[in-house]
Symmetry: D2
Subunit: 308 residues, 4 copies
């Protein structure tokens, strides 16, 4: 069966998919840590060769995945334990973070499309400091050293008539941040990862990824500054669900069935209808609001801590 049908923005899932079918690939390193008391499992996938990147369908770089099965359940502390892990990861992943940095946080996605609204919601709760520091200095916060934080929720091309990349490039040219952090809604392959998984990567955003399907890359290469991407899967492609069910069924029924037949069948209107459809939970509106708060708190925690 071809993997072309399978869409996932998670490197972890892409790796699982390969891992099951082939032998070990040179250039992919996987490290796992389990934090039992926090119900948090962290997997780091490092892709270090071009061959590995091709096999995985993801660019070379580091992909850190926080799996927190309780993340989609309401919690009085807004899952502060997850925010704490995410803040630690960010502080390690952002280069030279112990020195004062100017950081631009981009909330990708469409505020008016629930499953794509994670990025804009994260921006809403960030502590923004750049304009205060520029006017009054860090003394306004009673600190000697601080990161300078700015943010933008640029909207999507259908709203603006502009590529998100055009807007971000323009803003970078004018405000010269040292680092860009991009928040995005992702598509997962499996339902149990929905709204319970956070992927952090230093590879930025690549065309075709995310719920909003960005056409242009947001990477260090295209933007001129390091780009950290933080994503949470909020949807699973409907076609992926059906495809996986068929494959599952094919295995269980011990029929060696040619699934290509189905795919090539032009009369298969169901698969056509499934295009642009996704599977999500009924409480997605409330979950996205809670998740965005966990992420924004992680960013606020990470940005706030800089030793004097």
């Amino acid at each position: 069966m071809q993997t072309q049908q399978i869409r996932t923005d998670l490197a972890l899932e892409a790796h699982e998919s390969i891992d099951q079918s082939t032998t070990h690939i040179h250039g992919i390193e996987v490290n796992e840590k389990d934090f039992k008391e926090d119900q948090v499992h962290i997997t780091t996938v490092s892709v270090t060769t071009k061959n590995a990147a091709k096999a995985l369908g993801k660019p070379m770089g580091t992909y850190i995945t926080i799996e927190a099965p309780a993340l989609d359940i309401p919690d009085d502390g807004s899952h502060r334990e997850v925010s704490t892990h995410l803040a630690s990861i960010l502080k390690e992943l952002i280069p030279d973070f112990e020195n004062e940095k100017s950081i631009l946080v981009i909330g990708l996605g469409n505020r008016d499309v629930t499953a794509d609204s994670l990025g804009p919601h994260v921006i809403d709760n960030l502590c923004i400091t750049r304009h205060i520091i520029l006017e009054y200095g860090t003394a306004a916060y009673d600190k000697s050293r601080m990161h300078s934080i700015s943010s933008l929720a640029p909207g999507v091309m259908a709203q603006n008539g502009m590529e998100t990349a055009e807007i971000i490039k323009g803003v970078i040219d004018q405000t010269s941040p040292d680092i860009v952090i991009v928040i995005d809604s992702l598509a997962a392959r499996t339902l149990h990862r929905l709204n319970r998984t956070i992927q952090i990567t230093d590879t930025g955003i690549h065309p075709g990824s995310g719920v909003g399907n960005h056409r242009n890359a947001l990477t260090e290469e295209s933007l001129g500054v390091p780009v950290i991407a933080i994503g949470i899967p909020t949807v699973v492609d409907a076609a992926t669900i059906v495809w996986d069910a068929l494959e599952d069924f094919s295995k269980k029924s011990h029929h060696s069935i040619d699934l290509h037949m189905l795919q090539d069948d032009c009369s298969n209107t169901m698969l056509q209808e499934l295009n642009n459809m996704y599977v999500t939970g009924k409480d997605v509106d409330a979950i996205i609001k809670r998740l965005s708060f966990t992420i924004s708190e992680a960013l606020n925690m990470a940005f706030d801590e800089i030793e004097a």
Copy 2:
């Protein structure tokens, strides 16, 4: 294959499902009208015997379905042609509508859950007249005869701690409407009916129907006044999609496969995960807003016309 897996709130789909597998059932009458220039197809399913009701899984009564394939596409006139058909159907279905009536319109569902927010959104755009007529008479509108319109968006049990039916009964006792019209978001079986179909029925709302899964009935029997229900399918159950795909595949691959095997398999975690998941389009937020306007305009048109 058992029909228990298949969930649809549309009598039309329930009938199609039966129609394919069995012979004609006594007590079900189907009439169809096609309005080519409007791209509107109207099917009336009359269920007149208890046997037929049992076979269909829907109570005895009249189910009118407007299918309008263009309904989910943005339109400058907000699909006024569909509003006009819906208004005509309402004027025929509401008993004794040529005389002045006091009408209570209920917008069921959760305003904060996009796929369940159709009802509250319809209420937002209704022309409400009851309080004006009570205080100033119909003269306030320069009319001698008018319907008196009130409305309520009661929210859902998780928000209120009360059954929707309790709230509505209480309001009916206090304000004594002649007729109740209930607006609800439905679940369809097939994707091509999503957001393109309007069902109008004189049977009210029955337990387990709708996206919000109401537990108590809203019917003439339970409320004491005639109840007209207007529903639009905004979601398809994810399990239904997968099930239909498997069945489709089973037919196409010419294997006589025992689908019960799959269903009974306790290790089938995918089907378990699919519970409470639904399939919807990415633009569901915008579609719901537009659909609610088409419905509210139909109600405003129907309520406004009463001959002197």
Copy 3:
């Protein structure tokens, strides 16, 4: 100068207004407590005679005012110190609160009018337990004794075509709560009380009070159960501001000016234009959201504590 121009929903302000101009009135008792570390000042005005009620323009009963000057400033803990004081006051004011009660919380006002949206916002964050307790008992919460909480945001007459009182009466008849708590947005006389003051009273809601100007009373007399009202002033009437400025000016300029002249002047278009206008801060949208959280936390705290 006549007091007819002056509109305030705060008994504290009504009392100040009288206090300055006349001698002590029998039947009004005032007690004050200051909580320095919390920046909270609590004043209890008890109105015990009909004469005093008439002089004050407020019904007989207890009016407790929490003044917290920092309340309109963002705070990491959402002003938990104020929530704690409010919770204590509620536990004392609600009769027989040490025993299990069924409590219906009503969020008055219009969700779509920022200055009138406090009530609906408070409802959004309440812990609702009635439906769970009815179905599974208090065991669902691992408790032996619990208050049963339900809520409703009924909207306003212009949206529903029904008096808010009609809706609430109907819901009380169906669900038989022991106590009703009503949350409302109020009008203050002075700007420095705006969004910094909470009034709690056992007299309920009276016609003409609140930002939304309810026409029917919500009192123990009209609803048949005790009614506690919690209100925060979110607006000052624009006419009141101008009138007070003129009076202030009149005093300062040492002219004995006949302000009635101005009031009676039919050509005084400014005062006419000021009708239905109010004075508010630019950040009212954000303040209302924060205040509603402080109130809902107080209710959650009060409702949660019941000794076994």
Copy 4:
């Protein structure tokens, strides 16, 4: 009395203020047109000399004001007559508009502050074409010649940590529009102009103007392309209302009162409290939504018409 207390973003009001107190100023031309059937009055104030600009407190340029007293009243056609006049004015004011232009529309203001949300709301309803034309050409719209429309709602400095001007400059550098149109919420001096007046000017946006108080200019000089600004007054400064009332009173009572006394009085806490307060109507949320639709329709009408 000094004019320093008086804040208005409307050139028309600034001119009225001068007109009453001084003789005719060279360099200010005023033309008025009345459209009785449309209930629309259009005044063009041309400021052609530096002296006149100084006297008026507004830069040299053309200021066109549409006064439509019915504009704040709900209307089935969303006041299409006003949209039509605004479209005509835009087509005359935009240089070389009969040829294809690339137009960037900026919605200034804070979406979460009702009185400042006009700009973002206008953007929501615009027909955006740039991305379609770039990818498929004007053929996608069955036209040979079209304006290319893009848009941005950049938010405010407190949200972004960046000057709005920085963001807009960056976006202009990347996307090279021929013209920028900026939509903003304004402050008026008098209540009867609130939500009933539209000002169109070719001078752009100047520091300190608008509800959001932008610090940097958005003008042809600062952005490098012509800037048309469209503004509607949604608030009146509370201090202005009080000041005008005092002045009015001072005249009516025939006392020659020294208003400076009041202003200089440090103990005048009321005027201090009035800072950052504004006067607005209770239905401002609904009015802003309706007004934004009238404006966006005018833009859509203007942009749509280009002769082949």
